[in-house]
Amino acid sequence: MKDRFNLYRFASPATFYPLAGAMIPYFVAVSVVFGLAGLWLGMLVAPTDFQQGEGYRIIFIHVPASWMSMFIYLVMAFWAAIGLAFNTRLSGMMAQALAPTGALMAFLSLWTGALWGKPMWGAWWVWDARLTSELILLFLYIGYMALTAAIDDARRADKAGALLLLVGVVNVPIIYFSVKWWNTLHQGSSVNLAKSTMATTMLWGMLLMAMCFWMYSIAVAFMRVRTIMLERERNADWVKTLLAGGEK
């Protein structure tokens, strides 16, 4: 009973603002720990790959970035649904706070995909199903950010963006399936960026880096949402008190 009451309290920007601020350093610290552990395993301990030599080590960035780009989009869609259903302001702010980080993850996935593809398959870009879907995901992020930026009224921007996210999230499986179909039809030799059977150290390195990226994303999103909260709620008493009290 007490827990449920506490959770709803934090839907209010006034209560969430200090909570997020307090949590950021912890997320940063955990992210660094995971990152160091993941890099230790992935870069220093894991053996050479039989087929790909040392070049495979890019997966310790590429795979976590891809996972995060997709996961963040899902989280944004989740907040979109909550925001539309319960008309909460903080949900919309959270979705907007997550978007740039998600887009950067998608970009990083494409960048590292290209750097992986060039030595392995001879081309900077290969139209394999996963890279192509990742590119389309980046387009979806850009579309969301463009739409919310184009709408002046914050609540309309939240709701329109939320609707776009829900339409997008429904379409992502359809898009992925159609791209896979397109890819298998057009590829002569199968260009497969999938990993072969992985050594345990490789797998753990990847998982630890994924955790690192996840904690990093939360930390940055919390930082961003705090600024959004100050901007949106600038006429509220709690913001005025904070600003008058010399908030940095």
Binding site: V45, E54, G55, R57, H62, T101, L104, V220, R224, R234
Partner: protein
């Protein structure tokens, strides 16, 4: 435990150094620039809001 025989080997990455370090380099770049940009935006926003607040209180005081 450690896979590499020397620092030179580690940096060379079996010939794939450009690609591996190009990837890690971009990651580090993003993970530095993004938080810095967010922090900078926060500072600018707070400064602007404080200015507006001062202007408002001055107006209501008059």
């Amino acid at each position: 435990m450690i896979h590499w025989n020397s620092l030179a080997d580690f940096l060379a990455m079996g010939g794939y150094g450009f690609y591996v370090w190009g990837s890690f380099g971009m990651t580090v770049l993003i993970m530095l620039i993004e938080p810095i940009a967010v922090a900078r935006n926060r500072k600018i926003t707070i400064a602007r809001l404080k200015r507006q607040l001062r202007a408002e209180t001055r107006n209501t005081a008059e």
